[in-house]
Assembly symmetry: D2
C-alpha cells in the first residue's frame, strides 16, 4: 500500500489528535515521518534534542525548519551526561553490550514531553523501528512521564521499510543528503556511536572500515600513546587529565575522551545483542569515552570495595543494565538500585592512570585514600599485622564441609 495512504490511516486512528510533537534526529526516518504526518493533516512540531551527537546540531535544526516550518531545540547534554555518569557507576556496558538506547531515549522522552506540553500537542511521534529495544524504551518512558499524550511509532506501526522511505524521500524532494544515507544509519550521543544496517547481513564478515566515523583503526593511530588520568568521587568520574590537560565535569570528560580515544583507535566493538522481543541483532559501536571510563572505574572499585561488596555490586549492576536496556529508566526499581549504588560507591574515590595506544586501553596504576589494599597485609614478608601462620587454622576449617561431603559420597 502506498505510504501516503498508510499515513492517512493515522488520522483515522487518532481522531482527537491535532498537533504532534515529532522526535527529530535529522535522519531519513524522522524526515519522512514528519512529511507523512503533515500530509496526513496533523500539525507537526519537530523537536531536536542535543545529547552530545557530533553531527552539526544547528544544521539539524535548520533542516527541520525548512522541512516542517518550525523546530524546537532542547539542550539535554548536561542532564544526559549525568545519566551517562550514573551508567559508569553501574558498570553499564562492561558486559560488552554498549547500546545506549536505555539511557538516551529517556532523556529524549523528557525533552519531548516538555516541548509537547508547552506547545499544546496531543501526541508524540517517534521513529524507532519495532526491531530493537528503542521503541520499548521510548514508549515506556513516555507512558510514565507523559501519560496524557498519545504515542505514534511511525516506522513500526506503518511498517516503514528503508527502501520505501528512500523512494518517498526522493519523490517528495526531501534534502538530498538523506538520499545518500544508504549504507549505514547511526545513533550518536555522549556515550558513543551505534552503527547499524548494511553490514548486518553476515555476522561472519568484518565490519567495513567505512562504517566508523569517530575512531581510526588501530593501524592508523599515531605511534605516540596518550596518557589519561581519571579522578572519581563516589564512583563517578569528575575530572580527567588527558595528555596533561585537565577537563572537569561529566559532559566535558565524555567529549574529550571520545575525541582523544577515537584518535588512538580506542572504543570499537562488534557485538551480537539480544533484544527484548527475543531477536538477536548485530551492532557495531564506537564508544571511546565509555570504554576508558568503565576500565578506570572497575580498577578503582577493585581497590576500594570488599569482596562481598563487589559480589553484591555485580548482581545489582546486572539488574540495572537489564532494567535500563529494557525500558525501566523511570521506575522505582531503578531508583532503588541507584540508592544502593550511591551508598555503596561512597568510598570509590581516587584516581586511575591509563595509556591509550593503537586501540588498547592499558591500566598503569590506581590510588585512593580509601584503598582496602594494604601491602603489609598481602605480603608474606610483612611483620606484625598478619602472620601467614594464622592462615593454617583458617585452612583447616575452610574445606571442612567439602571433605565431609567427599567422604560420605561413594557414588
Amino acid at each position: 500500500m502506498d505510504l501516503s495512504k498508510r499515513a492517512l490511516q493515522l488520522k483515522e486512528e487518532y481522531p482527537s489528535v491535532k498537533k504532534v510533537a515529532l522526535s527529530y534526529s535529522g535522519g531519513l526516518d524522522s524526515s519522512v515521518a514528519g512529511r507523512l504526518l503533515s500530509k496526513a493533516g496533523f500539525e507537526v512540531l519537530p523537536v531536536a534534542v542535543d545529547i552530545g551527537q557530533r553531527s552539526d546540531f544547528a544544521r539539524i535544526v535548520s533542516n527541520a525548519k525548512s522541512l516542517l516550518g518550525d523546530c524546537r531545540a532542547a539542550d539535554m547534554r548536561e542532564i544526559f551526561a549525568q545519566s551517562a555518569q550514573r551508567a559508569i557507576k553501574s558498570n553499564f556496558g562492561s558486559d560488552g553490550n554498549l547500546n545506549s538506547g536505555g539511557i538516551s531515549r529517556p532523556a529524549l522522552a523528557a525533552a519531548l514531553a516538555k516541548e509537547a506540553r508547552e506547545a499544546g500537542c496531543q501526541a508524540i511521534a517517534h521513529g524507532s523501528s519495532g526491531i530493537g529495544n528503542e521503541h520499548l524504551v521510548m514508549e515506556n518512558a513516555l507512558r510514565t512521564i507523559a501519560p496524557e499524550m498519545r504515542i505514534m511509532a511511525i516506522v513500526r506501526d506503518l511498517d516503514l521499510r528503508r527502501d520505501d522511505a528512500l523512494a518517498f524521500a526522493a519523490k517528495e524532494k526531501l534534502p538530498t543528503n538523506l538520499l545518500r544515507a544508504k549504507g549505514f544509519s547511526a545513533d550518536e550521543n555522549l556515550w558513543g556511536r551505534a552503527i547499524r544496517q548494511g553490514f548486518a547481513i553476515d555476522p561472519s564478515a568484518p565490519i567495513p572500515e567505512k562504517a566508523y566515523k569517530w575512531t581510526v583503526s588501530p593501524q592508523a593511530a599515531p605511534p605516540k600513546m596518550a596518557s589519561v588520568e581519571v579522578e572519581f568521587s563516589g564512583g563517578a568520574p569528575v575530572d580527567a587529565t588527558i595528555n596533561g590537560k585537565r577537563v572537569s565535569g561529566a559532559a566535558a570528560i565524555f567529549l574529550a575522551l571520545n575525541e582523544t580515544g577515537g584518535r588512538h583507535g580506542v572504543g570499537r566493538a562488534d557485538a551480537l545483542e539480544d533484544k527484548a522481543v527475543g531477536l538477536k541483532s548485530r551492532e557495531a559501536y564506537e564508544c571511546p569515552a565509555a570504554m576508558i571510563l568503565l576500565a578506570a572505574h572497575r580498577q578503582l572499585e577493585s581497590l576500594t570495595l570488599t569482596t562481598r561488596e563487589l559480589e553484591a555490586k555485580a548482581q545489582s549492576d546486572a539488574l540495572w543494565a537489564r532494567l535500563v536496556r529494557e525500558g525501566g529508566w523511570y521506575t522505582r526499581l531503578r531508583r532503588s538500585l541507584d540508592a544502593f549504588t550511591d551508598e555503596l560507591e561512597r568510598p570509590v574515590e581516587g584516581s586511575v592512570s591509563l595509556e591509550l595506544y593503537r586501540g588498547s586501553i592499558i591500566v598503569r596504576g590506581r590510588k585512593s585514600r580509601r584503598a582496602l589494599y594494604d601491602s603489609r597485609l598481602s605480603s608474606r614478608d610483612s611483620k606484625g599485622v598478619f602472620s601467614q601462620k594464622e592462615a593454617r587454622q583458617f585452612a583447616k576449617l575452610y574445606g571442612l564441609q567439602d571433605v565431609m561431603a567427599y567422604m560420605v559420597d561413594s557414588d
Copy 2:
C-alpha cells in the same frame, strides 16, 4: 628462631611421617623446603610436574636430583589442557581474574598423590604461602583425593619469609640461580604466567616492563597483525589456524597461542584480586592464549545461545569461577556445574576469526550452523517471517506493570 630449628619441630609434629613427597617447582621456596625437610630427618622425594610451564623442565628435574638425590617427573600437560579447555567453556577469567591456581593446583595434587602413594610416602609437602588461595586449593584437593596423607605447608606453617629463604639458600650453597630470584616470582603453566612480588608495594605504580617474559609490550610488537581462527565444538576450542597454520588439540592450541599472542603484545593484565581469607592481592599476568580463546568463545556463545541461556550461563560461570578459585575442583558441585555446561554448550560450535595487533584482540567475524541470528528476522526490511508491526502489541503489554506502578505511586 633459626630456620633449621623450626624445621626440626616438623619432625615432632609429624612423628609418624618418614617419607615426604615434595611438590618441586624449581624455585627458591621448593628448594629451601626440600633442604629443610632433609635436615629435619625426613626422606624427601621431590616431584616435578609438567603442566606447560615454559621454563626448562629437564633442568628443573636435574636440579632436584642434584639437590635431593632423586626426582619423579610427571607429565600432566594433556590432563591440565583439558581442565584449561573446560575453563574456557566456563568463561573462567573473563571477569578479569586470570589466576589459574584453582585449575593448576588440582592437577599438581593429582600427580603428587599418585607419586606419593607409589613411593610409600606418608605425607605431601608443598610450598604455597598463606597469603593467596593456592594453599587452600592444594590442601582441599589433597584432603579429598589423598585423605590418608598428612599435608605439610612448609612456607605457611614455618612462616618462611623471602629474605630468610634467600639467606638460608646462600648459607646452604643452594644453586646460585635461586639467589638471583630476588625481583619476581612467577607461576607458569599452559593457562599463562602469574607474576608476583617486588612491584606489589604500590598499586599506583605501573608493573615494570622487566616483570614480563612471555609478552612484548604493544609498542615492541611487529606492525603486521596476526590472523587467528578458532574452531569450537561443544563450547571447547578444538582447532586453531594461526597465520594460516593449523594446530589441533587443547594443549597445542594453548602453546601456539601463548607464543603468537605474546609476540604481538597480547595477554597482559594488571589486577587487584580478592583472596579467600579476605585480603586483596595485586597480581600481574601474561595469558595470551587464555585471553584470545575467551574472547572467541564469548562471541560464539552470543551467536548460538538464547537470551535466557546466556543469563543462566552467566550465573553458572560465576559460581564455577568462585568455586574453583576457592578450592572446589574435586567437589560434586563442580561436577554438577559441568553437567549443566556440557548440556548447554552443545550448540556452541563453529568458528571465530580474530586479529592480534599490538596488544589488541580484534574480533572479525563468527559463524555457526547453529546460529540463532537470522538476518531476515533482525532487519526491518525483511519480508514474511517477522513484521515489525507485530511488535506493537508486544510493546503495549510490555510495560503494563511499570505503568500501573507509576500510576499508583504518588510519592
Copy 3:
C-alpha cells in the same frame, strides 16, 4: 459480534485446515470450542488426557463423544508423575507459586501432538485464555514438538467471555452440568487443584469455603494426626508410608498424599501471582501432596548438601521455576538445569518423617546415610574432631576486610 460468526472467521483464517485435534477437558470452554469448530465446518477430534484429575475421566470421554461424535483418551499419568517428581527435586512451588500449568501443559501438548498426527489433523485447538501463562506454555510446547501443526487458541483469539460461552451453551443445549459451572473453574492434575474465577474480584476477601473440593478446612479435620514418612532417592520421592501403609512410585505417592493430606486440611494456598504478560492474578490452590513432598525434600537437602551446594541449588531452582512457568519445558536450558540437578541431588537420599494435623505439616525428623551433619562436630562438648578453639584464628581472619573497610571509611 455473534459467536458463530466469529467462529466462521476461523475457517477463513485457516483455509488449509480440515481436521482439528481439540484439547478437551470436559469444561465449559472446551465444550463450546468444540461446538464452534464444528459449526465453522472443521472436522473436530476431541482428545481427553488423563493427568490425574480427580473428576470422573470416563464421563469426560463419554461427554465428548456425545457432543462431538468421537474422542481419543490418552493416559499420561505416569509420564506426568515423572514431571511432578522432577518438580519436587527442583523445589518448584516452594516460593509459594504452586501453579502447575508449566508442567501439565507440556504433557497435554505431547499427547495432543501424538493424537493429532495419528488422526491426520492439520491443527490443534486449545481453550486457554490470554490471561494466564497457560496459553504461552501450551503454544511454546506445540510450536517445538509439533511445528507442522497450526495452533488455534479459541478462547483467546475469539475473545470468548464466560457469559457469552454460557449463553452459547444454553442456546446449543450443551450438557446441563456446564451451565451450573458459574462459580468456579478449576484445573486438576496429580500436582493439585487450581481454582479461579468468581472470588477473584477482591483480594482482601477470603477464598470462600465452597471453592475447595480436595481439602477440608483445618477446623473440619479429624483430631487425630496422620503420620507420613517419605523416602527419597536422588532427590526424588520414591516411597511413602502413610499411617503405616506403604505406597510406591511417583503417581501413587501423589494420589495417596493428595487424599490423606486433603482429609487433614493440608495443602491450601491463596496467592497473588505474576504472569508473563505483566499482570497479577489471584489464585487459590489445593496441593496436599506437593506441599508435603516439598517440605520433606527441603529437609533432606538441608541434611545432605553443603552450604555452597544449597546456595547454587537455590539459584538453579529459581531459574527452573521461572523457565518452566513461562513455557520453557521443551528447551535445552531445562535439560541443562536438570543435568545440574540430577548430579547434585545424588546424595539426597534417606527419609523424612512428618505429621499432618489440622492444616499443619510438622517435620519430626530426617535421616540419611549421606548426612553431612555430625553431632560430634556441632557440639562444643565434642572431643577430638573439632575444637572450638580452632575457631579463634578463623574468627580473626574472618572479618578482616570488613574491619579494614570500616577503618578507612570516615563518612
Copy 4:
C-alpha cells in the same frame, strides 16, 4: 587442665587489661565466665541487656549483682525492635533459618561498647562458643564499633565445655538454678526463642515437647482461632489488631504476637542450619511474631511490587540475610542494601488479615491503596482496559527464540 588455671592464662595474655565488661545473660556460661574472670584478677562489670527476653530481667540483674558485686542494665528493646522490623522488611527468616543472632548480637555489642567505655574498661568479654555464628557476629560488631577494646571469648578461647562449666558452678556454689540448666540452653529476644543442646544428638528424632516454652503444641491449642490484622507502612509493621485489640509500635507488636501466636501453637520450627565455619547445626525455634509478620509482609509485597521488583528484592533479601547472619550488621553493604529496600518498599503499605489456628497461619486477605492487582485487567471478562486478543501477538513473539533454538538444534 583446671579451669581456674586456664583463666589465669587470660591474665597473661591480656596484661594491659584491668577492667572487663562482661556480656551477662544470666545463664550458666556467663555466670561461670564472670567468676573465672574475677578469680583471674580482672575487675568485672557485668552488663545485662534487655532485648525482649521473656525471662525475669530484674532477677538477671540481681543475680549478677550478688555474683559479681555490680551490674549495669541496658534497655535496648526499642532499638532492637527497629532491627527486627527491618528484618521483616527484608524477609529475614522466610528461607527457614530463623536464627536471630545476626540481629541481636549487634544490639548487645552496642550496649556493651557504651557501658564498657563509660566504666573505663579495656576489654569486653562474651560467652559465645566457637560453634555457631554468634561469636563471629559479636566480634565483628565489637571490632568495628569498639576497636579500642580487647575482646575475650571466654567459652571459645578456654574451650569451656558444658560439663566442666557445671562442675565449676557446683564447686563455686553459683546460684542453684544454673545447675538445673542441664537439658536445654536458649537464646531469647523479641524475635523469638532459639533452643539448643541435648536434643541435638540425632536429627531423626523429634524435638521433645519440653524444649518449648513460648508455644503450646497445635494439639494443645484452643479450638477458637485468633484473628490478626497487621498494618504496614513502607514495608514495616506499624500496627496490629489482635482479636480486636489494637497494639502499635514495633516492640509492642512483637511482644503481643509472640504471646497470642504461642497460645495458638504458632511459631515452631525445627531446622538444620549451615554455619560460617562450614558446619551444620540443628536448631529449634519458637518465633510466633516473626513468622506471622513474615507471612503478612510477603502477601503485601505480592500485591504492591512489580514482577521485576519482586525478583530484585529476592536477590537483595538473600544477600541481606547471609550478610547479617555472618556478622555484617555494621557494614556499608548492609546500609546499601537497606537503602535499596527502603526505596523499593515505599509502596508496601496496607493491611493483611490472618487467622491463627492450632499451629497454622492462614491468610484471609490483603488490601492496599497501592495495589498493582486490578481485577478488571486479570479477568477475561473485563471490558476495555485489556483484551485477551492482544495477548496473541505477544504469544507469537514470546517464544520466538526458543523455537529458533529448537529448529537449529538437531542433537
